[in-house]
């Protein structure tokens, strides 16, 4: 797990921590079942207040990325869980929206776009 805090960032520190952990869960760098460092250990390691890291973990829990288990710490949940799936869905929608907007700009129609998507999909398999 990597966390880099920027004091120049527009984002408050708790949300920098949250976003970076989220990103690493979504891209697979932090695997499901991983036990995250304790709130207090993380605060000490990156030099921020305990309330800051608590807030980051609370929000990750609310969004369904992690679950706090009594005495065990916070565990990264499976990507199959519902809330996490929703998060993925949002990402997919955003990506598609982008692609469709760009396609419209150059006058590409839906069939052409579908063909392109098909080609890319197959290329990745």
């Amino acid at each position: 797990m990597k966390i880099l805090i920027s004091n120049q960032s527009e984002l408050p520190i708790y949300s920098q921590i949250k976003e970076q952990i989220k990103e690493q869960i979504l891209n697979g760098n932090i695997e499901e079942g991983t036990i995250l460092p304790s709130i207090r250990k993380l605060a000490k390691e990156i030099g921020v207040s305990v309330i800051t890291t608590t807030r980051a973990y609370n929000e990750l829990e609310k969004e369904g990325f992690i679950a706090s288990m009594q005495g065990k710490g916070s565990v990264v949940l499976s990507k199959d869980n519902k809330i996490l799936k929703e998060q993925y869905l949002i990402r997919i929608e955003e990506g598609l929206e982008n692609a469709i907007q760009t396609a419209k700009k150059i006058g590409m129609d839906y069939v052409e776009l579908e063909e392109l998507a098909n080609k890319i999909w197959k290329g990745m398999e």
């Binding site: 408050p12 207090r40 605060a43 000490k44 030099g47 207040s49 305990v50 309330i51 800051t52």
Partner: protein
């Protein structure tokens, strides 16, 4: 959250100075920054917590115990570090150790030696020949080598170089890591506690003007900049406005930013800016 330090309605008149109805509470496992100008009442508050002076009214408890309940335990729970060395100038480290052994049941000689070794404190020098940084390190060695519940720091970072300050911050975070101990940290250098403080309390003329979680405090305000002519009735929202020939700068509550619209520039303040604007207001 269980409270480590509770100061309740404490007042004290000292000559012209009046500490006016101060109340605060610090939960176990957290760090509270106590800020304010020199002379605002920080040290008076700390002297009352340390039971060096009696308040005219109000009460203080540490880990649920007041001084009256158990004076010895009350004092033993506190690890105090101030901005001046409290050791006799002719002392060497071995003399400090002797005194600690005599006074504190929980003094851990091995731990003390370890810290002295790690921090590279000279065993041959007299205290009066110690630099400010060495003195601070020695004071911390004495409080960290016995069992305490709370560190009370009064301008303890004064005169430390940036590297020593940085390593001290890590030491403080280690102290609270188990969630059972707390730190009450007074300073006039606000940036020292910007990163690690969970709570921020500010005192001005003997009265508390801020008493909040740091995260919330930072989110509650915005700095706004713009032209006076665009204000049109919004003046009432401005805190601590400062004008020059070309525009103004002030602070507002973050939730009224929408009323201002896009003719103004907004910035997130740091604690120091919040303090300055509230003091000006």
């Amino acid at each position: 959250m269980e409270d480590m330090l509770v100061v309740k309605n404490v007042s004290k008149k000292l000559g012209d100075f009046y500490l006016n109805d101060v109340s605060l509470s610090l939960p176990k496992g957290y760090i509270m920054g106590y800020i304010g100008k020199n002379g605002a009442g920080k040290t008076t508050t700390i002297n009352i917590i340390n039971h060096l002076i009696n308040p005219d009214c109000g009460s203080v408890t540490i880990n649920g115990i007041s001084y009256k309940d158990n004076p010895v335990l009350y004092k033993e729970q506190i690890g105090y570090v101030g901005d001046e060395s409290y050791f006799p100038p002719e002392f060497k480290i071995k003399d400090v150790k002797k005194v600690l052994k005599m006074f504190y049941k929980s003094f851990d000689e091995k731990k003390f030696d370890e810290i002295v070794e790690r921090e590279g404190l000279s065993k041959d020098k007299k205290i009066k020949d110690f630099s400010r940084g060495m003195n601070v390190k020695l004071m911390f060695a004495t409080v960290l080598s016995r069992e305490t519940k709370i560190l009370i720091l009064d301008e303890a970072t004064n005169g430390l170089d940036p590297i020593a300050k940085d390593s001290l911050m890590t030491t403080l975070q280690e102290y609270i890591e188990d969630g059972e101990k707390s730190i009450f940290f007074s300073t006039h250098v606000v940036s020292d506690l910007e990163q690690i403080a969970d709570f921020v309390v500010m005192i001005e003329n003997g009265k508390l003007v801020i008493n909040e979680q740091k995260e919330e405090l930072l989110e509650n305000y915005l700095i706004v900049k713009g032209n006076e002519s665009e204000l049109k009735g919004l003046e009432g929202n401005l805190l601590g406005k400062k004008s020059n020939d070309y525009g103004f700068e002030a602070m507002i509550k973050a939730d009224c930013a929408d009323e201002f619209g896009n003719k103004f520039i907004f910035e997130k303040p740091n604690i120091e800016q919040i303090a300055i604007h509230l003091l000006r207001a």
